[in-house]
Symmetry: C2
Subunit: 116 residues, 2 copies
């Protein structure tokens, strides 16, 4: 059955050990629990100075920046992004989302069902 | 290789025959041309009074509303949505995105690679 929901009503998972990740909230908006057959839509909030893990895995990210600015840290470069940008991280490319600003960063990140 | 791009730099496909669809622009942000292995991220703009086709297919939509308001027309009901909402349309459920407001509607819609 079709679902319409508010992202802020989804309980977040918090990643904030300060070393591997900092100031990150992840909300799974659409996933296996809703009957999603192929891929998972998540909403991320990254506080000022926060970051996701600098890591790699064998699945891709398809991202849309909703609010704020930051940069994508890769092995040998950094790519800045801002609201209205899309970001594609292919499988097996080491990456990190960094909020080096004084404002909150928000983005949508879609992954295949087998990643998590 | 990772990609960062601006959605407004992508050339849109226009759907505007006034019967099947009206006032719709589709931008494929991330898809097979970028090496996306599993699913496709598209950006839609629907002008005031516009609508997507009222149709069904055997793949799902995972949607995030970026801007504006509207409603999801289903076979037997309508579900309103607004910016900040997520929308899941499972496979084989007849659906239409309608902008019945005076403002532009924008959303992200992700589909599996085999849908199009």
């Amino acid at each position: 059955m079709a679902i319409v929901g508010k992202h802020e009503d989804v309980t977040p998972e918090v990643y904030d050990d300060g070393k591997i990740a900092k100031g990150v909230e992840k909300r799974v908006l659409i996933g296996p629990d809703n009957g999603a057959p192929n891929f998972i839509m998540r909403h991320f909030t990254v506080k000022p100075g926060g970051f996701s893990p600098f890591h790699t895995h064998d699945w891709e990210h398809e991202v849309y920046i909703l609010k704020g600015k930051g940069f994508l840290r890769l092995e040998n470069e950094q790519k800045p992004f801002e609201a209205g940008d899309y970001v594609f991280v292919p499988p097996n490319e080491k990456h990190q989302f960094v909020n080096d600003t004084d404002d909150v960063l928000e983005f949508i990140c879609v992954i295949p069902k087998y990643g998590n």
